[in-house]
Amino acid sequence: MLPLYNFLLGLYPAAYRGEYGEEMLAVLSEVQTEIQKRGPLGQIVSSGWEVAGLLFGALREHLRVITGSAPRAIFFPRRFTMRSEFRFPKAVVTLMAVILLAIFLAIDKAKAVQASIPYANPQVGPIHPTQQLMLLPALLLVLAGACVTAALGWGILFALHRSGVHRFTDVDASSRPRSSRNLLI
């Protein structure tokens, strides 16, 4: 197994490998000696555990190099990190998935309605220059709407960040007044 472990250590970023590679290989060698004392099933499980740990670790360290922070939120997504100071709650993903599903359902429904009344809409002729000119203000309006929505969203996120709501998880329970403790449990 040691050649495999050595190969997997090669998957780590060079800087990490340079700092911990030799040490990790020494530990893995010792672990492997312990593993060999176990039964066949125990050996498979323990070796698999080590292999998975090395693969996971290599991926984690590469992500750390790319993102500049420990990517725990990716693998243990209790929260999704937008920046180190602000985190989206997990429910955002569910909400976005629901919205996407609703969009697809609306498209399907519209297609069904269109198919059921084929003659309701007259055939559209060639687009005249005046109609093209009407498209531009409409597009600008949509763009302005999107900008306003984005500004509102940013304002809400900024206000949440300024309020310090995201720091509630770091509050030390021991510093809370006695009267509020009963409410927490």
């Binding site: 990790m24 020494a26 740990g53």
Partner: protein
Amino acid sequence: MSGGSVRLSTGTLYGALHRLLEEGWIERFREDDSSRGKQAYRLTSLGRRSLRQEVARLTQLTRLASLRIARKET
């Protein structure tokens, strides 16, 4: 130490060590008995302070949980 309840693979262990070193909570040091040929780590004063705070926080939480259980039982 954990009686087998915690199983850390080597990859996971070194990920944690790397993070703790970066945070300045542990440091490398040279052991007097270097026959084991391994790198030794120890808590820094910052790490010890953080650990103490964490122990206090967990103690508080377990105390509150115990109170809650005791209240339910009575």
